[in-house]
Amino acid sequence: MSRAACISLSGLELLPDLAGALYVPDFEALLVADLHLEKASSLARRGVHLPPYDTRATLEHLSFSLAAARPKRLILLGDSFHDDEAHLRIDPSDIAEFARLTRGIDVIWLAGNHDPSPPQALGGHFAEEIALGPITLRHIPAALAEEEFEIAGHLHPAASLAQRGRALRRKCFIGHERRIVMPAYGSFTGGLSVSAEPFQAIFPDGRFDVWMIGGKAIHRFPAGRIR
């Protein structure tokens, strides 16, 4: 059933999966953005008692993505934790599960605005931003330098389109030939419509494609087809 979706950036092949990860075969790297681990327990501090299973659910997705791609390195594009104290609340079983999943894999944490300095507890390296060949990976999309390519997160893109009188809204990848913004990966992360102002700022001429994440396949649409 699955359609072989492929996004190309700067001549590199990028393979999105149904959980919202992006695999880069040339570098054997799996990219994920905006896990927001421990979002539920963060809200619980203010008396909102959402199911305390969001970290577990997100790691479950991650195990699928890792099993399918079998990467050498895992790069988390920031906002991996919902706040700076999340590592104090995360359940030890979840830490163990993360260690099990990433055994033998290089883990690189990029800084996000929610987690400017990701905790040491889960191991791995830390960086503000890094280069993956010709592509810069960072959390917040930046003004592109000449000849620069970028993959970023932060904005939680989601797109909707109308088909047969039904409005369909899905998390999505959004991009053009210079830049890709990844969907939020975390199980309790919502989406921001790609028609919202922050996307106009980084795609000022309104020219972009989206790759909407369906239940069985990734579906690509040009900006003109979505709303």
Partner: protein, 829 residues
């Protein structure tokens, strides 16, 4: 009980006489029973002096023993607009008799200053809404404020008890009773099929079968109901009733003032616009529905009261309300769906009991002709639908526990006992109660992650108390059981050219519309709203922007079926009428012909049978069945049947449900499968489909997500979105669909999932009714294999393509959208 005189005090008898009235027997009977200390249920038609009957015991008591400072009587009315009118009406006897009685109102709109004053100097009679009773008992000062309370009067009780509002109110009443055990309750109700349920609801349950005393008012004159016998052709399907507009207009012209009732906002818009086009005499005709701006609605109501209008097109927003005196005709456009609703709506005209109300029913299609005729006969007999009070809602219980905690520390044992005195919770188990307390405390999850963030903590002798006063504030903002669809404001756009660009800015607010509807419009789409054709310009952070347009053919909101399903009682009558050709002469000739041809080409089933027809058409094979159980139950049946047909290898492609019938289409030849015994209809429609098939479907169904959201808001798991607060709220909230997915996977037995399932079974998927259907048709299925579509099947066949195929086809739609693009791109010319 006591030896006080039950006679009316002189001042009351005099007052009745000066007005040329005498107290009605049921008013005196209520007075007598209330004075003897009983709870009383008064059932009486509109215009029977019901409101005064409710107040009379309090007025008499307050006259004899002027009040000592606390509230004496709470009068609870379901509509806040009504509260003000009732207070005004009550002022007349109070001031004319110069009674020492102070009357005030308290609703969600009452300013803070007045609430404060009411606390310091309570009125004798407080007229309020169900939610306000909960807020009253949530107040730490509740015990003091209610110490002198003697009576609670519950208006429109029949309408309150069928919803979660009633369930919440019943819990608040159980609390009031603990604070003021001497209180007697008086329930006022329209005629209902089963008064005993209301009598039990009304009174505290301690022993077996406790019931309030029953007083019956005198029935009014039977209404005169006609069905429009149109000279035009009655359509085969559809709900817009355009064919009858000239005849409706003519009827409005003949009457003094007409209420035109419809079932949905879309029908209201359509009917109003068509009438406006037909309005050559410039009659003042107005529109009234729940999405219009409140100010605009109040204007219409005021113009109505002042007799300045000739007609108002309205939805259920005007089902309840005070008398407008001058209404002399009620027109019901579309089938009324239930006998009780029809009687209630007809009661809106001519409030004088001794004169019959006038009403005309306008069916919008052929099946509705049958339904209207059934409703007409039922209403003429005064027969009511049976509507059961809503009971034992776990989400509402959670909200009430929070309410109790806001008032101060409580002991769970004591609260459990108190809650059980409410008839609605008489069967609550201690286990479920404890789970609800745990839910309020820390979310109630098996994984104990939130103990340090608990909302309740132990205190003293096994008591529990709030951990932070902020929680009480949160409760007050989020309490209540009415969860609106997510609505967006619609504003009039002003469009300017600036530097060659089209700049759209927002202006006056026109009203609100459902977000799901607006979210499927694209710029330039036209739609009907507030009686105008609007052009959708786009969304901004405050809502939708739209401009006026000259377009005459708007993209009308897709008719999402009636808001109310066909009542069980009426469905049975329709089946009987259909089965009995002797009843057909009451029907218009074109409908008679339709049924006669059906009898010739297929069969007319007997009332107990269910007919199933199979026939081929354009490469597909159709199966149509006629359960007459309402669209919701049919949709559920359709979902489950397609799953089963899939397993049986019939290759189902889709289905469409109407109020009366269900059609499923498949790739395989159904007639052949049935005749060769490879498809067994009795097995296909077996009652076991409500087991595993139902569970499997529901788990992945979007419907559960909707009921889950409502339960999560009512139970206090997620907060309501308040206008203006959306931005900050977004930081705090998580989409309820995501919560549902995670909870279902990791804790499927959670209290909120049970609450959501319970709601879905009652409402959106109507499992109870489907279960009754499957039982009814056991051994009663008749099958006809036909060469072609039958007359009876035509209406539901016409719905195919209009109604989007229901279900979980989202992924298919996404794929289809993408394929269309690919096809377009690959086309060579």
């Amino acid at each position: 009980m006591d030896d006080r005189p039950t006679r009316l005090p002189q001042v009351f008898t005099d007052w009745f006489r000066t007005r040329g009235w005498s107290p009605r027997p049921h008013q005196l009977e209520v007075l007598e029973k209330a004075q003897a200390g009983y709870d009383v249920l008064l059932i009486s038609p509109t215009g029977g002096g019901k409101t005064l009957a409710g107040f009379l015991p309090s007025l008499v008591e307050l006259t004899r023993e002027p009040q000592r400072g606390g509230i004496h009587t709470l009068y609870v009315s379901p509509l806040k607009a009504l509260a003000v009118d009732i207070a005004r009406n009550l002022e007349t006897p109070v001031s004319e008799m110069q009674l020492p009685v102070r009357v005030e109102t308290r609703t969600g709109d009452t300013p803070h200053s007045r609430r404060k004053r009411q606390r310091e100097k309570p009125p004798d009679i407080l007229i309020t809404t169900p939610e306000q009773v909960s807020l009253l008992v949530a107040d730490p000062g509740a015990a003091h404020m209610l110490k002198d309370l003697r009576a609670i009067v519950l208006d429109e009780l029949h309408s309150i008890v069928t919803s979660k509002r009633g369930v919440l109110l019943s819990l608040a009443l159980s609390r009031v009773r603990s604070l003021a055990p001497q209180v007697r309750r008086i329930g006022l109700s329209a005629t209902v099929a089963d008064p005993d349920a209301l009598r039990a609801w009304l009174t505290p349950q301690q022993g077996e079968n406790q019931r309030a005393e029953l007083v019956m008012g005198k029935a009014g004159a039977a209404p005169q109901i006609s069905i429009l016998k149109s000279a035009e052709r009655v359509p085969w399907s559809g709900h817009m009733t355009r064919y009858a507009i000239p005849e409706i207009y003519e009827a409005i012209k003949q009457a003094r003032m007409t209420l035109v009732f419809v079932n949905t906002r879309a029908q209201a818009e359509m009917t109003f616009q068509s009438l406006w086009t037909a309005n050559e005499d410039h009659l003042p005709i107005a529109l009234h529905h729940g999405s219009l701006d409140v100010g605009q609605r109040r204007k219409v109501e005021a113009a109505m009261a002042a007799g300045k209008l000739r007609a108002v097109v309205c939805t259920s927003t005007l089902d309840l309300g005070i008398d407008w005196g001058d209404v002399d005709l009620v027109i019901h456009v579309g089938a009324p769906k239930g006998s009780s609703r029809l009687l209630q709506r007809i009661g809106r005209s001519n409030h004088r009991l001794d004169e019959p109300s006038q009403a005309m029913l306008v069916p919008s299609n052929r099946f509705e002709v049958l339904e209207c005729e059934a409703a007409r006969q039922a209403a003429a007999e005064g027969a009511q639908d049976t509507e059961y009070p809503s009971v034992l809602k776990l989400d509402v219980l959670a909200q009430h526990i929070m309410c109790r905690a806001c008032a101060g520390p409580f002991h769970p044992d004591q609260l459990y006992g108190e809650v059980k005195t409410a008839w609605t919770y008489r069967n609550l188990t201690r286990e479920d109660f404890d789970r609800a307390v745990e839910f309020v405390t820390n979310g109630g999850y098996a994984l104990k992650a939130y103990e340090r963030y608990a909302k309740l903590k132990p205190w003293g002798d096994g008591e529990l108390r709030l951990t932070h006063p902020r929680l009480a504030q949160q409760y007050r903002l989020n309490m209540g059981t009415i969860v609106e669809e997510e609505m967006l404001k619609v504003r009039l756009a002003s469009i300017k050219k600036r530097l060659g660009r089209r700049v759209v800015t927002g202006g006056r607010v026109l009203g609100e519309m459902e977000e799901w509807f607006l979210s499927q419009l694209s710029g330039g789409d036209t739609f009907l709203f507030g009686g105008e054709v609007l052009r959708f310009e786009g969304l901004d952070e405050f809502g939708a922007l739209a401009s006026r347009t000259q377009a005459s053919d708007p993209a009308i909101p897709s008719y999402a079926g009636g808001k109310f399903p066909l009542s069980t009682y009426l469905a049975e009558r329709v089946r009987k009428m259909l089965a009995d050709p002797k009843a057909w002469p009451a029907l218009p000739a074109q409908v008679r012909d339709w049924l006669s041809v059906q009898r010739w080409k297929s069969i007319i089933p007997s009332p107990r049978q269910m007919l199933i027809e199979t026939f081929p058409r354009a490469q597909r094979h159709y199966m149509v069945c006629y359960p007459f159980e309402g669209r919701l139950a049919h949709q559920t049946l359709g979902m489950l049947l397609t799953r089963r047909l899939e397993r049986m290898g019939a290759q189902p492609m889709g289905f469409v449900a109407s109020e009366y019938a269900l059609v499923v289409w498949c790739l395989r030849d159904l007639s052949l499968l049935i005749s060769t015994g490879r498809l067994d209809l009795a097995h296909l429609f077996g009652e076991d489909m409500l087991g595993d098939d139902l569970d499997a479907w529901l788990a992945e169904s979007n419907l559960m997500k909707r009921t889950f959201r409502n339960a999560a808001i009512i139970a206090g798991l997620i907060e309501r979105r308040w206008p203006g607060k959306e931005k900050t709220a977004r930081q705090m909230t998580v989409n309820s669909d995501l919560i549902y997915d995670v909870l279902l996977r990791h804790e499927p037995q959670h209290l909120l999932l049970r609450a959501a399932w319970d709601d879905a079974a009652d409402g959106l998927i109507d499992v109870h009714r489907l279960g009754a259907l499957l039982k009814r048709i056991r051994g009663q299925i008749v099958h006809r294999a036909l060469d072609t579509v039958s007359p009876l099947a035509v209406p539901v066949m016409l719905e195919i393509g209009k109604e989007s195929v229901y279900g979980e086809a989202d992924d298919a739609l996404l794929a289809e959208a993408e394929d269309e693009l690919i096809d377009e791109a690959m086309r060579l010319v």
